[in-house]
Structures are given as structure tokens and as C-alpha cells.
């Protein structure tokens, strides 16, 4: 099902945030162990889900994978290369290959820029498609890909609904043709009826473009719907990593069972069947 070499390989990743007191003479009081020894692989073309509660370290893990944070220990390999300590232009080149979709479509788009310039921003940063007409054409194509009307090129984020804004975020993430897309709670700020639109879009794009997707969510049903494999995080550690079917039909770890039991609506289905 998958090619032998994984796209991302994370080994014993650790991120501690120091707790300090004092402004000039910082005394270290201890550390928040946000990610505490995490190892996993992301296979090419798969959708890997990372679930867990607030504060379990799932977003920190994503930021470490993207090298938005510096790990305390451990290694991250991307596409066969050790990117744990790459810097400068090489890091910039690597970042073209991996993109992120953020949780809140209201605060992750600059309100004073038009959609066209938001989606074109990655081109500007990486110096691609310098010709204006060409850049414009690329942006229109991207908008079309994610189901936005390309004519709305000159509109501002506030003129779009939440679901459409999230599509803008997706278009921006796709601009550089990344291999890896990390979506951090991409639908939790959206209405249920709109969530399905965005989830379907992500799945279509993943299939159509052969993307590898890491989906971070606290919503177990969303993860079940989208992912091939699921990692359950708790207190900075992965407590269970299994195939979708296996995890949901026979959860191995007590924490996974607890999470599954807490989902409302799980009881609803049973009620519906009996009633």
C-alpha cells in the first residue's frame, strides 16, 4: 500500500518549554514537557490523524515537524533528509515542501490584504512566478481548485464566510505544491454543515494531488472519517498508534477507550437503533 520509505520520520522527539521567573536574571524553575519522547512515521500518500485533548502536545508536535519550533531533543527526517537542525536557505527550501492549515480561519488571514495577495504570498516569499500576470493566473487556478470563485480575487477576508475562509487557507497552503500538508484542527471553528464541505475538499485534494496529510483534531469522529492511521496523544506521549479500523473497533489503551466513550452522539446512534 505504501512505498517503503516514509515521508516523515520522527524519532524520540522532545520539546520542553522552560518555566522561568524574573526578567533579567531568569531562574529556571522547571519545564513544561509539551512533547516528551514521541516517535512515529508518516507514510507517503496517507492521512495520519493525531488526536488528543487540549494540552496533550499535538499542535507542538506539528510545529516541531514543520520546524516552526526547535526541538529539545530527537530528530525529524523529511523526505530522507535530517531536517532537525537545518537552517537558512536550506530550511526555506524544505518548508516549500510542507505547509500548514490553521485552526481559526478568522485570525489566520490578514484582514487588510485581498484574497489574491494572501494566496500569492508564498510565491512572493519564495520568489516564484515573478511575472504579475502569471502570478495572477496561478492564484486564480488555486482558488478554482479549492472551490472559490476566481473572480473574487480582489475581495477581502471579511467578505467570505467561515468555510470559504478556510478554503482560502487551503489555497495558500497548496500554492507551492507541497508534499506534506498539516491541518491543525481545520474544521473545529466551523459550523457542522460547513465542516463536511472542508473535510470533503481536503480528502479530494489529497487523493487528486497525491498529498500526504497529517490531520490534528480533538474530534474523534472527524479523525475516524478522514484518516488511515491514528495516533492518540496524552500528556506529551503517543499512547496508541494504530490503523483506523483497529483503533476504533478495538482500542488498546485505556485512555483511548475513555476518549471514545466520551463522544456525545455515540449513545445517540444506539438510541436511534432501539427507538
Amino acid at each position: 500500500m505504501s512505498s517503503p520509505e516514509p515521508l516523515v520520520e520522527v524519532r524520540d522527539l522532545v520539546k520542553h518549554f522552560p518555566l522561568t521567573r524574573g526578567i533579567v536574571l531568569k531562574r529556571k524553575l522547571g519545564a513544561v514537557k509539551a512533547v516528551d519522547g514521541v516517535s512515529f512515521e508518516v507514510l507517503r500518500g496517507e492521512t495520519l490523524g493525531i488526536v488528543g485533548e487540549t494540552g496533550c502536545g499535538k499542535s507542538t508536535t506539528a510545529r516541531l515537524m514543520m520546524r516552526l519550533l526547535e526541538p529539545t531533543a530527537g530528530t525529524v527526517h523529511f523526505d530522507g533528509q535530517d531536517i532537525t537542525h537545518t537552517k537558512g536557505s536550506r530550511l526555506k527550501a524544505t518548508r516549500r515542501e510542507m505547509q500548514m492549515i490553521f485552526q481559526d480561519p478568522y485570525s489566520s488571514l490578514n484582514p487588510r490584504k485581498t484574497v489574491g495577495s494572501i494566496v500569492a504570498e508564498p510565491f512572493a516569499i519564495h520568489g516564484l512566478h515573478r511575472d504579475r500576470a502569471e502570478r495572477r493566473q496561478k492564484v486564480r487556478e488555486l482558488m478554482d481548485t479549492v472551490g472559490l470563485n476566481p473572480e473574487h480575487y480582489n475581495r477581502y477576508p471579511h467578505e467570505f464566510s467561515g468555510g470559504q475562509r478556510q478554503r482560502i487557507g487551503v489555497a495558500r497552503a497548496l500554492a507551492l505544491g507541497p508534499k506534506l500538508l498539516i491541518a491543525d484542527e481545520p474544521v473545529s471553528a466551523l459550523d457542522v454543515s460547513i465542516q463536511a464541505q472542508v473535510l470533503n475538499l481536503l480528502r479530494e485534494l489529497q487523493r487528486g494531488m497525491g498529498l500526504t496529510l497529517v490531520l490534528i483534531s480533538h474530534d474523534l469522529s472527524v479523525v475516524r472519517h478522514m484518516c488511515d492511521r491514528v495516533a492518540v496523544m496524552h500528556a506529551g506521549k503517543i499512547v496508541e498508534l494504530a490503523d483506523n479500523e483497529a483503533l476504533y473497533s478495538s482500542p488498546g489503551h485505556p485512555y483511548t477507550k475513555e476518549l471514545l466513550a466520551a463522544v456525545p452522539g455515540a449513545r445517540r446512534d444506539r438510541r436511534t437503533i432501539h427507538g
Binding site: N149, S193, A196, L199, G265, A266, R271
Partner: protein, 369 residues
Amino acid sequence: MSSIAEPLLRVEDLHVEFQTEDGVVKAVDGIDYEVGKGRTLGIVGESGSGKTVAALTTLGLTRAQGTRISGRIVFEGRDLLSLPEVELRRIRGNEIAMVFQDSLSALHPLYRVGAQIVEAVRAHQDVSKAQAKARTIELLGLVGIPDPGRRVDDYPHEFSGGMRQRAMIAMALANEPKLLIADEPTTALDVTVQAQILALLERLRGELGMGIVIVTHDLGVVAEMADEIAVMYAGRIVETAATEALLAGPEHPYTWGLLRSIPTLEGPRVEQLAPIPGGPPSLIDPPSGCHFHPRCAYAQPEHARIDPELRTIPGPPAQPAHRVACLLEADVRRRLWSELQAGREPAQALTAAGLPRAQATDGPPESHA
């Protein structure tokens, strides 16, 4: 279960309109509902469907210049809409209490959590500060805050999201209200915390015999909590029934959409979710006819002209009545829903039900700026 004769709260033909620069927003456009003692009503809808405005209006919190409110909100025989502000203040937080959506912004960041609950107690009860504080500690314990004697002096930022939500509930319960209105009480919370909060509300309803109105966009939450569900769309109730009846046999295409767009933990993993196309309509200039018709896969040409009424569905009488505002024939609706449940696409269901293909809009329509 309980007496249906005199409901705790009866809302009749409620309209709430806001005057804005762009025009009149009809946030609530003629809704009726009832909540009995010890019963839970779930109001479900997307953002902008008017569900929060309906809840706020019950407490007189939408009264302001430029707001037009009409209809009746009868609480224990008194019409809240005609009460002067002074009398409403005696009811608010005392007999009717509210748990607000965002606990971080609903609590004052510079006052201790305990002090804010003490204030709520002393606003309605003639007790000493020490007594009020003792009551506050008791309340915090009741909602499951560990070590309440110490945490009572914490500031809101020292509480986690779940604890703040519990503190909000403690504050709402301070004066043992007869009716609790909870606006998205668990939306920002983790599943495990959400389950605890819902269990807490359920327990308190049993212990105190409160009526509860729970406002949410999450059908999973109301399915768990509510005895009755009202589905709101564009300021109106489009379907209402007992929870079991609504989940077993939903009648409105919008309710179908809500149910089918949620991935579930049980049942087969479907390939594609079936989202409701488009986004919520403008409440300034709502669509003609049935407000849902531009997003409805089963709309017929005349549905753009005729505005459907909320009618009781034909069949054996139910208590409460199952009512729906849809122009499709009842047997057609049932046929469509059974086709959808069998995994057919809306277009196939239409053909099976013998209806012509509708001009359903695909993709999101343009937002109203």
C-alpha cells in the same frame, strides 16, 4: 413524564429585529416553543440562525435602541417582554439563569472567580458575605471543582477551560433557578470535559427539577441531553419533535443535511460526507418562499414562492407533536429519507421518489458582504 398543562416557559410568535446600517436584520422571525419543569429543550442551528438571540431575548438581554421585539415570552404566567427592567432584574440570574457561550470572556479577568459568584448570590439573597462565600464554595464543589475551598480565591486565568465553564454553571445555579438557559455550554471543550459537563447538567436537572434550554450547533450534544429538539434555520423553527422521534424520522431536508454532514463513530465509514451546499442565508434579505430552498436538493420551482408553515406531520399523534415546515408531501419526504439512509445520493433519491430534478445550487454561493 411531567405535567404538560402549564409549561415553565412558553414562547409565542417571538420576533426580534435589529436595525443596522445595511437594513433590518430579522434575527428571530416568529418562533414558538415550550419548556416544561424538569424538561430539556435543545435548540439546534448553524451560526446566524437566531438561536442565541432567541435565548438572550428571554432574559431581556437584547433590549436596546434599534431592536424591535414582539410576541410573548410567558414565564410562570408573567410576560417577560412587558416587564420593566427593574422587575426583570429580579428574575434574571435568580429564577432564570444563563450559561454563556464563551466562559473566558464571560468572567471578569480582574476579579476572583469566587467573588463573582458571591456577587451573583448577594444580588438576589439577603445574606452576609461569609454566608455567600460558604454557599459559593458549596456550589463550586457541586459542579466538581476539586478543592473548592482553595480554588474559590483563584482568578479566571488560573482555571482551565473546563473549570471556567463549571464556574459559569455554578454561578448560574447560585440561586437555584427554575430555568437554565445554556448557550453552547460545551463547544470549546474537549470531549472528556464535555461529557462531564453534560452529565453534570443532567444530574442537576434531576436534583433541582430545573427546566433547561440548551442552545447548540451540535446535534450530538442535544441527542444526549434533550427531551425535545427544535431545529432553527434563518430565524425560524423548521422542525420540532421529541428527540427520539426527530432522530428516528427527521422530516426536514435541513435536518437531514445536519445529520448526514456529521461523521460518526459508529456505522460504516462513508466515503464522502454529504454537506449542505452553500452557507447560511442573509437575514436582512432572506430568500423568497421557503428560506431553505436555495440550499435544498429537493426544492421544486413553487417552493421559491410559497412560504411553508410549521405543521404537525400526519400520523399517530405524538406528545410533543412532531411539526415541520416543508412544502414536500409527507410521503415524498419519508421516501426521500429512506432512500438517503440506504446510501443514495440526493439526485438518486429524487428520481426514486418520482420528483423532477431540482435546480439545486452546487458549491458555495456568494457571501453577503
